[in-house]
């Protein structure tokens, strides 16, 4: 990427224009919020004399506030993602395709076999796809949820959506050939139960055989399962284990990985909303944009961090 200041300078005319528009939108939003608050207050007064009408007016006021605020943010988000973000992306990683409304498909998510639960609601945004060096990479934010219907003691059914995964999901090439399946999953049992936990890992029937690796720190963080003990070690060299641990601490997220069907999948679990600017924050204050550039750069750096451009084996 070129100098950050150069980028900010390049964006300045557009930023100034959108900033003026943002301030207007915020003012409109404040006006709408005041009107909504007034309606709600009126509802409160009505409630004292005629409760049913009071409640209706109160709810009407609250809905007005919500709609006004959400509309303002959604318009801002659209303008920012369509007019500013593409310029930032072109600077950070030229030649990358971006679609703010698209995401990694549900079939790709399932193909990774990282999460074996049912997924009934699948959303996402900010889809990137392109080539870094010699390695193709695509990623997006994903929120996958499982619908669970519960019946309480009185026989009432309650439907709720339980998050299976929320965060960044990457699909990339791996620089080595492989035929089997290898899964690198967060180790819950060993970190809680120590050696006994490791014994429990062997009884995970939904996964292939446990692969016990020699890096003690890596073993504390991850459980590795593979269909071929040698191939899993071929992929997870001592160096690769170090790089994976560094990547995990860089993002500070629970990290899942799988190697199968010639693809390398990485899922970084996080509740953080990536690639967003705050509606309340001035665009002329470069902090928000700097954070955005950093997030973007960190995501594309995965290729270099894991040394996926190293082509010294038989795969071209």
């Amino acid at each position: 990427m070129r100098d950050k200041d150069t980028l900010l300078e390049k964006l300045r005319p557009r930023l100034t224009e959108i900033e003026t528009w943002r301030i207007n939108q915020r003012a409109k939003g404040s006006k709408g919020t005041w009107i909504g608050t007034g309606i709600a207050a009126l509802g409160g007064i009505f409630f004292l004399f005629f409760p049913p009408a009071g409640i209706v007016i109160l709810i009407g006021g609250i809905i007005t506030i919500i709609i006004v605020r959400a509309t303002g943010y959604s318009k801002f988000k659209k303008r920012f993602k369509n007019e500013i973000f593409p310029i930032v992306i072109e600077e950070v990683q030229p030649g990358v395709n971006y679609n703010s409304d698209s995401h990694i498909s549900k079939s790709t998510f399932h193909a990774s076999r990282i999460f074996l639960q049912d997924v009934d609601r699948f959303n996402g945004e900010d889809y990137f796809s392109g080539t870094v060096g010699e390695t193709h990479i695509e990623f997006s934010e994903i929120h996958a949820e499982d619908k669970q219907v519960r019946v309480d003691s009185k026989g009432r059914t309650r439907t709720e959506y339980v998050t299976v995964f929320k965060g960044l999901f990457f699909v990339t090439e791996f620089h080595k050939h492989f035929n089997g399946e290898t899964y690198v999953l967060p180790d819950v049992t060993e970190s809680w139960l120590g050696k006994f936990g490791r014994k429990l890992q062997k009884w995970n029937w939904s996964r292939p055989d446990l692969v016990e690796l020699e890096n003690v720190d890596f073993e504390k963080l991850f459980s590795v399962y593979g269909t071929d003990q040698i191939e899993s070690r071929y992929l997870l060299t001592p160096k690769m284990m170090e790089l994976i641990m560094e990547l995990r601490s860089k993002f500070g997220c629970t990290t899942y990985m799988s190697f199968l069907n010639d693809k390398f999948y990485i899922a970084l679990s996080s509740n953080h909303d990536f690639f967003e600017l705050k509606f309340s924050e001035s665009l002329m204050n470069s902090k928000g944009l700097e954070r955005l550039i950093f997030e973007l750069q960190t995501c594309f750096d995965i290729v270099e961090d894991l040394q996926l451009n190293t082509r010294i084996w038989s795969k071209d």
């Binding site: 016990e212 020699e214 003990q229 040698i230 070690r233 160096k239 170090e242 190293t310 084996w313 038989s314």
Partner: protein, 214 residues
């Protein structure tokens, strides 16, 4: 108390005979035996199968190393042929590696001796890799680059096979030495196995890519 009452009332009844039988010492022993034998049998079968499984895993991993080492044998003559015209100063290394390969391929050689020779071959290949850097013509030669990639591939596979073998041996040795599975291992006359010594340069996880970037 209950039995005493019964014996007074119906001394000849079947029920009495049965209850009386329950109080005989040999019946207690029989119960213990009937419970104990299946438990011991299940334990023995599980441990026996576990040990056999671990032994087979170690053998499979060992043959994995062998397969990769043989693949490397096939690549060495091609590499030597490709570089010898350029590498006039390193003829000694090329002759040495050819000789070592010939010795390692002999049928009558023991495993330990053979793997010692293989480690020497690894070291010689490392020297050739470094030497290639001094010859721009060689670095630019597609055939040599391709051969180097194939060799790197085989070396990575050898390293993975060795690590898999050592993991399998660790699991086997633990079972052979730890109580109570060591009892079954003794009965089966099963012995611990030697770990595969991984050469220092492999343990230090050399960034081979750096050699090409120079």
């Amino acid at each position: 108390m209950y039995i005493a009452t019964l014996s007074n009332r119906r001394s000849n009844s079947t029920l009495y005979t049965w209850l009386n039988f329950l109080h005989k010492p040999y019946f207690h022993n029989m119960i213990i035996i009937l419970i104990f034998i299946p438990i011991v049998a299940i334990w023995a079968i599980t441990v026996y199968n576990g040990l056999i499984g671990k032994k087979n895993n170690a053998e499979e991993a060992f043959s994995g190393i062998d397969v990769q080492l043989k693949k490397r044998w096939d690549l060495i003559p091609n590499l030597v042929a490709a570089v010898k015209e350029f590498m006039s100063h390193e003829r000694g290394i090329l002759e040495e590696i050819t000789k070592l390969r010939g010795q390692a391929m002999q049928d009558n050689i023991g495993d330990q001796e053979r793997f010692g020779l293989e480690n020497q071959i690894s070291s010689m290949l490392g020297k050739i890799k470094v030497a290639v850097e001094a010859y721009p013509d060689l670095k630019a030669n597609n055939n040599v680059t391709e051969l180097q990639h194939s060799l790197n591939e085989v070396e990575a596979q050898i390293s993975a096979s060795r690590r898999a073998y050592n993991a399998a041996v660790k699991s086997l040795n633990n079972a052979v030495e730890m109580f109570p599975s060591n009892i079954m291992a003794n009965i089966m006359n099963m012995k611990t196995r030697e770990f595969f010594e991984i050469p220092r340069e492999e343990r230090e996880s050399v960034d081979v890519g750096a050699l090409f970037d120079k």
